[in-house]
Symmetry: C2
Subunit: 492 residues, 2 copies
């Protein structure tokens, strides 16, 4: 796959005047949003930060030397609490020297970057069909984004995946964003051969909050003429079924379940009327509204919220670790009740628990001994303060910058439905650049797209038809094609 990088989008920094004025920060404050301006590293001191890295040539479960270049490592981003963020870096299998560098953040908060790697867009995936209870086998994902980009998967914040801190750190949206930027700068200082590659910050689900915060941090540092920030070749960001705020997610969910035929016209009208269209901030005394919402919840509570057509494995949504205790390993008869039940995606998540907690795997990945007690795909109870409730204004502020943005949505996701994402994009009041149209893979409609712009900023929205909450998990081929085209700056 050949990526054509159009000239003109590679660099934008020369157009800034390094006036020292914090335009980005002040604009955000002017709209009375929590201001993430407590960055304490405006004068970045890379020598204070420590990192380690290791080349990984072989992995338990994969039958041969890895046919791609994998590096894992740690970057210390907070010396006070000894916060060390773990990453997986995989060089592009195309042209690593020119292909973009994509930093991938999984959502949660608390979901490992490895989840994005092995279940979404990385070069490895589990061979579920051959699983016999031993160490899960790995196979190659033919639709890995490493076919077109250098991919950097990050475990953040501390407590996520293999990232750790020696004392209990303060985790929050803004702190995670700041730590992520520190990570990125340090990582690039340590990998100068990628420092000129176009850089994109990407992620899905809850990372929909973190990605714009990270980009905003970088833009702010860049405008303040901080050299480490200015050295970042940031071109834009990618958002998959992204959270912008919970109100939008919840309100669009009610529209979505109606449109998808999961509730009746009557139920929807009743709720809309009694709740005045607001299903997130509900007056607790508004009994007709609460009743209407309750009726709707009864219709949808047993669906898999991440893909309304998928098997939900029996109703309730257990946490991944609860699933593990339900289906525990038991000698060589694993998952005792598994064979009696229909396959569901959660079972395949269990393989990552078995694999990543294996001592040989951790050794191969160069995980530091004794740093974490148990690896979890998603650490749901991670200590974390959600101190940024809404990132819409961050997007709005970023529309003043020369960024390219891709926001895609699996259109069968009920968690963060595409309807809300279209809604907030439109609320940015940009100029329509390309009208709604289908986009194709193999002459089949893979979804629909539209594009908006404002001066140097542009945002491409795309649905992934038949995709769920993490679209590449359900439509890998289509999502690789989408990413390849968009990163090459050609139409979807």
């Amino acid at each position: 796959m050949i990526i054509q990088h159009k000239e003109g989008i590679q660099r934008k920094k020369s157009e800034h005047y390094c006036s020292g004025s914090d335009r980005i920060g002040s604009e955000l404050r002017s709209v009375d949003r929590p201001s993430p301006n407590n960055t304490n590293f405006s004068h970045f001191c890379p020598h204070m930060i420590h990192s380690s890295k290791s080349i990984v040539n072989e992995l338990p479960g994969f039958p041969a030397p890895l046919p791609f270049n994998l590096e894992t490592g740690y970057v210390k981003v907070d010396g006070l609490n000894d916060v060390n963020l773990f990453y997986y870096f995989i060089e592009s299998e195309n042209d690593p020297s020119k292909d973009p560098l994509v930093l991938w953040l999984s959502g949660g908060p608390g979901c490992s970057g490895f989840s994005g790697l092995v279940y979404e867009i990385g070069p490895l995936q589990y061979d579920f069909s051959s699983f016999d209870g031993g160490l899960p086998s790995l196979t190659l994902n033919p639709y890995s984004w490493t076919k077109i980009a250098n991919m950097l998967f990050l475990d953040a914040p501390a407590g996520t995946g293999f990232s750790y801190a020696t004392s209990e750190p303060y985790n929050s949206d803004s702190k995670t964003a700041q730590d992520t930027v520190k990570f990125l700068i340090e990582w690039l200082l340590d990998h100068p051969r990628f420092s000129r590659n176009p850089l994109y910050v990407a992620g899905d689900s809850y990372a929909g909050k973190l990605v714009p915060l990270v980009v905003h941090e970088i833009a702010k540092g860049d405008e303040a003429c901080d050299t480490p920030y200015q050295s970042l070749q940031l071109q834009g960001y990618i958002l998959g079924n992204p959270l912008v705020n919970y109100q939008t997610a919840v309100n669009s969910k009610f529209i979505f379940v109606h449109r998808m035929g999961l509730i009746s016209d009557e139920y929807y009208e009743l709720a809309r009327k009694n709740c005045n269209g607001e299903f997130f901030y509900v007056d607790p005394d508004n009994v007709p509204c609460l009743n209407a919402i309750q009726r709707i919840k009864e219709c949808i509570s047993k669906l898999d919220p991440e893909h309304i057509l998928e098997v939900n494995c029996g109703g309730d949504q257990p946490e991944s670790d609860e699933v593990q205790s339900d289906y525990r390993f038991n000698g060589d008869v694993l998952f005792p009740s598994w064979h009696d039940k229909p396959w569901c995606r959660k079972y395949s998540y269990l393989l990552s628990y078995a694999w990543a907690n294996n001592p040989h795997v951790q050794e191969a990945l160069h995980v530091r001994n004794g740093t974490i007690s148990k690896w979890k795909r998603c650490y749901r109870n991670i200590p974390y303060v959600k101190d940024v409730t809404d990132v819409l204004e961050y997007h709005y502020v970023l529309t003043k910058e020369k960024y390219r943005v891709l926001a895609y949505s699996g259109d069968h996701d009920m968690v963060i439905p595409y309807i809300g994402t279209i809604g907030w994009i439109r609320s940015l009041n940009l100029t329509m650049d390309e009208n709604w149209r289908p986009w194709f893979v193999d002459d089949e409609i893979a979804g629909y797209t539209e594009k908006y712009k404002q001066h140097g900023y542009n945002i491409t929205f795309a649905t992934v038809k038949g995709g769920g909450h993490t679209a590449p998990m359900y439509r890998p081929k289509e999502c690789l094609a989408m990413a390849a085209r968009w990163l090459s700056n050609v139409p979807l």
Copy 2:
């Protein structure tokens, strides 16, 4: 699977007074609809009709004696044109003496009942994975409706499947309905041991027009105290993604594609406004409306209309026989370009062409030599006059009778979307009997259902979540559960 037939629904005839008044026919005429009252067999003469039947113990492609009782045969329904309708009858694998008898009509018009048998609800299916270009293999369908019912699959009208006429017959909606009733009466006279079983008339797609016409014929004959009609133990009818009229199908399609996220809010609003909500009867001078419709068509024309998430095999919708010529048999290298393309459902249709046109198969099925030139799954250009444009009024008239009705819709079908079906059911102005709720299979939501009633009549509507135009093809397990529950008169 045990079917409990509640007492009280078994027979309803005793409540009629055989006054001779044609209430059903006259009601329909009063609403100025095409009256199908030109039945020329109100005094039915069974001795004038000839039939043949054969037991089939083995079938080419199936590796053992059939583990169910299959009978094929012909019934002559029109002596003038020597019209002989071919059928496949499969006894219930549960309790043939008590289980219902379900007459299944495939749509089209011109689609063989065998298509319903082998691709939807019969006990046999093709083993596509093992197909090597020779005679297609057959395997058992674990979700056959023969697990719970005696199934009678009909090729109608003449020209469909193996049905034939020696001279060119007049085919129309009303004629097909009348011939189908003749077939049913004659078949039951010839199979008296099923004459006391509860009888249901069923079918999908275009059969949505034929099923109520058949039921109406029977009800009319019954009220006119014609003995052959009265002998039918008709309890109700089943409609799968049924056509009621093209206007409803087309108008609901525009709502559907909007709700499913295939067109934007703007496109939908533009079309709705400019076309005044009417997309079927469009004023040819209304250019803004035509333009808006055109824009929408461009968004959806390359989808598989029968299931919007399925592969459409490259855009245009070839007829089944065109597909065959594209992917023709070629020595032992069959489907030369097949392996290069993504699998699509149309390829599996080709297997029925290869199988049903094989001389040994036709011999095994006891097809009369020389009666048809080539078997087609669906004979799209069958000579046929669509003389009943709208069956809504037929449904309305039937609401005065004591029938049980099941109308189900695969909710990803764009041909006859569930939205239109809900719409016309509600327009019957019945009383809501059961509110919208999910229905379950294996503790998973299989779809949603609601129920309406009026005196002895009731209609259950159900979506089949993730199903397409012929829902059991996509969701076989769920559809068998639905049919089993509904035929047993227990809630879905």
